[in-house]
């Protein structure tokens, strides 16, 4: 039966998760040079259109439709067939199924948008759209089905509360592939890739944090104690990630930075995502601290080796997905969530093994498919990269005939 409280909760959560995509657009666009601002923003915004299309026609059915061999949902819900104001019998049974569908749509939208940070400032718009669309079909939907749609990883006991594997690890692995296929931006190591507007990045951070409550707490799919736990875990992990990153900067560079605070917060929020509703606030704090530490090190290391993951999708999102999923294996507790699992600290080392298995499967699968897909598009669609002159001119003018700021 439909519960108006739960329905409100997921409707508003869906709106909040939708808002995360513009939030991400600003988070990213603040970090690029001013000639690429609009192109970067559009790479996120356009996902709202392209991936929603994909989702309502085939994505939802592929992800949450009746299972075919543990691998994928069938297409019996093509075009939302049978998805109505009545609740599903399987998922979120107290809210209209169509609300569950659209809530999940928002997750599908933001995931490929996350990847764009890896190839920022250098990818052509057309190939980017093709990549994102097919990536969603070939990577996001299957993994979503495996983990959340009753697929084989779920059967195996792999848990992911709100998207450590499904969202962050898939996008991080795709980002790694993209960095390898596209190569570094022109002038890396010589030009100054300074953020053109950190206030814009901080605005994005604020919006993302706000939306993340809808993302994680909403994943409880009901306004209950689990949602409450997930909400609190989310907040304290963000807080801990920010504290850790800022502290490390203070120690290593004598000064904390605004971008560091934002980066740490996002790392913490991303890391707690798979675990939010399954662990205690204390565990969430530890995860947040680990997130700050590991992502800080990853990003520092990246700068040393000249690997141009421009806005650190691998080092922040991908790594967070891994740490959070591992952390869940360690800290999960049935005392917190009886529908969850007990982890290593609750004496169940096996569950940690299961989570590691999940990470390897999803990571490898997402990386390999992304890599092949990118290579394929590179060859068939006249190249993924902007022409060098266009890269110099910048996306805004070269790809969209616009200028971000006319002052």
């Amino acid at each position: 039966m439909i519960n108006s409280g739960d329905t409100t909760f997921i409707i508003i959560s869906a709106a909040m998760v939708l808002l995360m995509t513009p939030g991400l657009a600003f988070f990213y666009a603040g970090m690029v040079r001013h000639k690429n601002v609009l192109g970067t923003i559009l790479q996120s915004f356009i996902m709202i259109s392209v991936i929603s299309f994909e989702w309502v026609y085939i994505g939802y059915s592929m992800s949450f439709g009746p299972d075919v061999g543990g691998l994928i949902g069938d297409l019996s819900m093509f075009g939302l067939k049978g998805v109505s104001g009545a609740p599903s019998e399987i998922y979120a049974t107290t809210i209209p199924q169509i609300v569950f569908m659209i809530y999940q749509c928002m997750f599908a939208v933001i995931t490929p948008a996350l990847i764009t940070g890896a190839f920022a400032e250098r990818m052509r718009f057309g190939p980017f759209l093709i990549f994102s669309l097919f990536w969603t079909i070939l990577v996001y939907n299957p993994v979503c089905h495996w983990v959340w749609g009753g697929g084989w990883l779920a059967e195996r006991g792999v848990l992911d509360f709100a998207g450590g594997l499904v969202v962050h690890l898939t996008s991080g692995a795709a980002a790694a592939a993209a960095v390898m296929v596209l190569g570094p931006r022109k002038g890396l190591g010589r030009d100054k890739f300074m953020p053109h507007s950190l206030p814009m990045t901080l605005l994005g951070t604020g919006i993302l944090w706000f939306g993340w409550f809808g993302f994680n707490a909403g994943s409880a799919l009901a306004a209950d104690g689990i949602a409450a736990t997930a909400f609190v875990s989310t907040h304290v992990a963000g807080m801990a990630g920010m504290a850790m990153w800022v502290a490390l900067e203070w120690k290593c560079y004598k000064q904390p930075t605004t971008l560091g605070a934002a980066s740490g917060a996002i790392a913490g929020l991303a890391t707690v995502t798979p675990a939010a509703g399954f662990i205690s606030p204390h565990s969430a704090i530890i995860l947040g601290l680990m997130a700050g530490l590991c992502c800080f090190l990853a990003v520092t290391y990246k700068n040393k080796i000249g690997w141009d993951d421009s806005l650190d999708v691998v080092g922040i999102h991908g790594l967070s997905g891994v740490i959070g999923t591992l952390g869940l294996g360690i800290f999960a507790s049935k005392a917190i969530n009886p529908n969850g699992a007990d982890g290593l600290l609750a004496g169940n080392g096996e569950f940690l093994g299961t989570q590691i298995f999940g990470i390897v499967v999803v990571g490898v699968y997402a990386f390999v498919v992304s890599f092949i897909l990118l290579k394929f598009i590179d060859i068939c669609c006249g190249g993924l990269r902007l022409k060098p002159d266009d890269e110099t001119i910048g996306l805004d003018q070269a790809a969209h005939s616009e200028t971000a700021y006319n002052m």
């Binding site: 300074m194 560079y253 000064q255 930075t257 971008l259 560091g260 990003v299 520092t300 700068n303 650190d312």
Partner: protein, 112 residues
Amino acid sequence: MKKIEAIIKPFKLDDVKDALNNIGINGMTITDVKGYGRQKGHKEIYRGAEYEVDFIPKIKIGIIVSADQVDAVTEAIIAGAKTGKIGDGKIFVLPVEQVIRVRTGEKGPDAI
């Protein structure tokens, strides 16, 4: 007539303007510029990537004066702009052959 170009530290603009007003100079044009010289820039850090920023914000003041005012003007600028620390800037004097006021068409010293 001469054109005096002075590169100064931005926060000294008001002092220079006052010093110039005091000697009766009431016209000037300023431009935001960036300077490179002995004064060291600073380091900026973005997610661990350190960048040396060596162009430093400065203000360029352009003033057209008659030749006999050059010394007074340069002294006023120095008085206003000097902090004694590296990077205080420079003053250049260039020859000007003609000055015209757009509004009236007046030429030469009258146009200033």
